[in-house]
């Protein structure tokens, strides 16, 4: 769902790209294509301008020199950045997809027959350059929109980049996780580190690297500093700088906040199916009445402009898309461990077994369910005596704050209205990273990632 929304957003924002911006029309495979129909652009520019005018008054109060236009946190998260406010992409980008055999001779069930190994993406320069590893956020792969955006911007600034899927991404759970149970920051970091070594061994003959850097967004940001800590012992990369973008301070707290968005939908989280269908019906009616044909940005912004969904409903949609992505994680992990959580223990699923019922079950399970019924019991068995509170505390930055304070190589970029953080947690980040903390006034969770100031900040940080 989120992927789809993002994809639509991408297309839409391309249409919004104004001629004055001077777009490069060169071919670059992973970057969306541009249309240059000036009439259309003019019309879209007008629509976009109207959107700005019609924004709630709060927006005008926020005349703070920061040009990212969408004030609402959930709305920003869903809509992302309008294309005319993004950095121009590079003329061309050299890309290679890596398929890594991280755990040799791993047994993969038939149901995952299409999983041929861990997929990472390398963007490479023809000259000696620093290499940045990027870790994707919850449920995202090596070519999700956010990570490709970061990769593209860093590539343009002269870096080699390797993008890594999140340890919560099914492809990672199946082919690169030792336990196949994601969620423990220390173990996930060890899995990630092995993947990075593996990827590096695969490309080191082909590219010339001067230094190593590390970054990640959302959960990937939090994981990045745990990977950096592991690197202090293993010393393979000696990362010069590590950037967290919209990270969670504590994994449990953040996911609880996201889950909280569903508490406000009619009937609560248990009625997530009815909620989805209601929202869909609303959208269908909107589409039927309007004069839209294509499913693109224009449509999405029109939905936004018309205030079809309330702020609370937008929050519900964010919560729902999170559930859809965590459903993939829960199912993959359960199948790989034969955990008997959603799939009967010992059932062998074939490549063509219907999975609709499992999907339905997984979507209805909250992270709290997963945590209490699956994740925590799994680690309790591994580490006898571990209390629930101790485990929760281990899933956050506090557990390694001594290390984080000891070095100036860390930095964080986030937003004041990122709903995965409490105000106290934002203060904590400021305290922890001091000058290296950048908090933008709005953008929700990653909504402003592609905004040009934000990208410039990311590039500037690694300089």
């Amino acid at each position: 769902m989120k992927g789809k929304v993002k994809e639509i957003t991408g297309e839409l924002s391309n249409n919004l790209k104004l001629k004055a911006e001077g777009t490069d029309e060169k071919d670059s495979r992973f970057i969306l294509q541009y249309r240059k129909d000036s009439m259309k652009h003019l019309r879209l520019a007008v629509i976009f301008w109207l959107c700005l005018v019609l924004l709630p008054a709060a927006c005008w109060a926020a005349d703070d020199g920061y040009g990212y236009p969408i004030p609402g946190s959930y709305e920003a998260t869903i809509l992302g950045t309008p294309d005319n406010l993004k950095l121009a992409p590079p003329d061309k980008i050299s890309i290679r997809q890596l398929v890594l055999d991280v755990i040799p001779d791993i047994k993969k069930p038939d149901i995952f027959f299409y999983n041929k190994g861990l997929r990472c993406t390398l963007a490479y320069q023809d000259k000696k350059a620093p290499l940045v590893f990027l870790i994707a956020g919850t449920g995202a792969g090596d070519q999700s929109q956010d990570i490709v955006a970061m990769m593209t911007a860093l590539y343009k600034a002269g870096y080699h980049v390797i993008t890594l899927p999140s340890p919560t991404y099914p492809n990672f759970i199946i082919s690169a996780s030792d336990s196949h149970v994601p969620g423990d920051l220390t173990e996930d970091a060890a899995d990630l580190y092995r993947v990075m070594e593996n990827a590096w061994n695969k490309v080191k003959e082909d590219i010339e690297v001067s230094d190593f850097y590390l970054g990640g967004y959302s959960l990937g940001g939090t994981q990045a500093v745990f990977v950096a800590k592991l690197d202090e012992e293993r010393k393979i990369f000696n990362f010069r700088k590590v950037l967290m973008v919209n990270p969670a301070v504590n994994l449990y707290n953040s996911v609880t906040r996201i889950e909280g968005l569903l508490d406000k939908i009619p009937g609560g989280p248990r009625k997530i199916g009815a909620y989805f269908n209601d929202m869909l019906a609303k959208f269908t009616e909107f589409y039927r009445r309007g004069d839209f044909i294509d499913f693109n940005d224009k449509l999405l912004y029109a939905v936004y402009k018309s205030k079809l969904f309330s702020h609370v409903e937008d929050g519900g949609l964010v919560g729902l898309s999170f559930r859809i992505s965590s459903a993939g994680m829960i199912f993959s992990s359960d199948v790989m461990t034969n955990g008997g959580y959603v799939v009967p223990k010992n059932r062998i699923l074939s490549a063509t077994d219907p999975l609709g019922d499992y999907f339905l079950v997984c979507v209805h399970l909250s992270f709290i369910n997963y945590f209490d019924e699956y994740l925590y019991p799994y680690f309790l068995k591994k580490r006898p005596g571990l209390t629930r509170e101790e485990f929760i505390d281990s899933l956050g930055l506090k557990s390694i704050e001594g290390y984080l304070k000891s070095s100036s190589k860390f930095g964080v970029m986030t937003n004041d209205n990122d709903f995965i953080l409490s105000p106290a947690e934002i203060d904590y980040l400021r305290q922890l990273f001091g000058e290296q903390t950048k908090v933008y006034p709005r953008g929700g969770h990653l909504g402003n990632l592609e905004y040009r100031d934000n990208m410039a900040y990311i590039i500037g940080f690694f300089k």
Binding site: Y114, T284, F295, V342, N346, T352, D353, Y358, V361, H364
Partner: protein, 258 residues
């Protein structure tokens, strides 16, 4: 004599049934003794509506076909398309895409007429004339920059317009997600095109005209896959089939409103 045959037949049938049923029974018991029910099952959530759920009576067949298409893509279709993309300059690829889109205007044109959509038919006619002439036989698309935006109609949509039910979801070999109606529509459009080509007979006086036609169709198939960014199982999402099924059906439903 015939009754003897009948009796033999019924014995064979009975035997077959007994054998197959007992076979079933043994395998199922074997399965069930070792299986332990999961902590959460679907019955627990029966008080809520189902999500992204589309009627799919042919699900087994469709899942098989979905997987077939994955393999067909992986080992045949996509390598061919990559080869094409590798040897052909981008500008020519665009020209090829425009050329086949221009031929496709004919389909949109008569289907717009079938659905009494005069404006769409006119725009499409205008596009076809403009692109066939100024656009040099459809290699370029000047019509779009003149404000004539591409429309799309096919016979499946025409059937839908006149109230024919979409029928069950159907994953077609090579072509992928469809419904029974859209598959039938595709066949009709192909038939109409065959008839048109036969009537005009563009390669009437050319030696091996049929070979050229086959070449053009092959090129069209390659161009079709080249334009389509979708890759089976690329999302890595275990429930991709269900998401695709939902999005395909929802999109068709919405497009039918226009």
């Amino acid at each position: 004599m015939s009754s003897a045959i009948c009796r033999v037949c019924s014995v064979v049938v009975a035997l077959y049934l007994v054998l197959s049923l007992s076979g079933c029974a043994t395998t199922t018991t074997a399965k069930f003794t070792s299986e332990v029910p999961a902590m959460h099952s679907v019955s627990e959530f029966s008080d809520d509506e189902r999500v992204v759920d589309i009627a799919d009576p042919w699900e087994r067949f469709n899942l098989n076909m979905y997987n077939f298409n994955y393999h067909f893509d992986r080992y045949f279709f996509l390598p061919v398309v990559s080869g094409y993309e590798f040897i052909t300059p981008t500008l020519i690829q665009k020209g090829v895409t425009n050329f086949f889109s221009n031929i496709g205007e004919v389909r949109t044109f008569y289907n717009s007429l079938f659905q009494l959509k005069g404006k769409k038919a006119l725009i499409t006619f205008g596009r076809f004339v403009t692109n066939s002439t100024i656009g040099i036989g459809g290699l370029f698309d000047p019509a779009t920059s003149f404000g004539l935006e591409a429309q799309s109609e096919d016979f499946g949509q025409t059937l839908g317009y006149w109230g024919v039910d979409s029928g069950p979801y159907l994953v077609v070999p090579v072509l992928g997600p469809n419904t029974l109606r859209s598959t039938g529509g595709f066949a009709v459009d192909a038939g109409i095109r065959y008839a048109i080509v036969g009537t005009i007979d563009p390669f009437e006086n050319v030696e091996n005209g049929n070979v050229i036609l086959i070449g053009i169709s092959t090129m069209e198939a390659i161009d079709m896959r080249h334009k389509q960014k979708f890759r089976y199982y690329e999302s890595g999402y275990p429930f991709e089939y269900y998401m695709v099924r939902f999005l395909y059906n929802k999109k068709s439903e919405l497009l039918l409103m226009k």
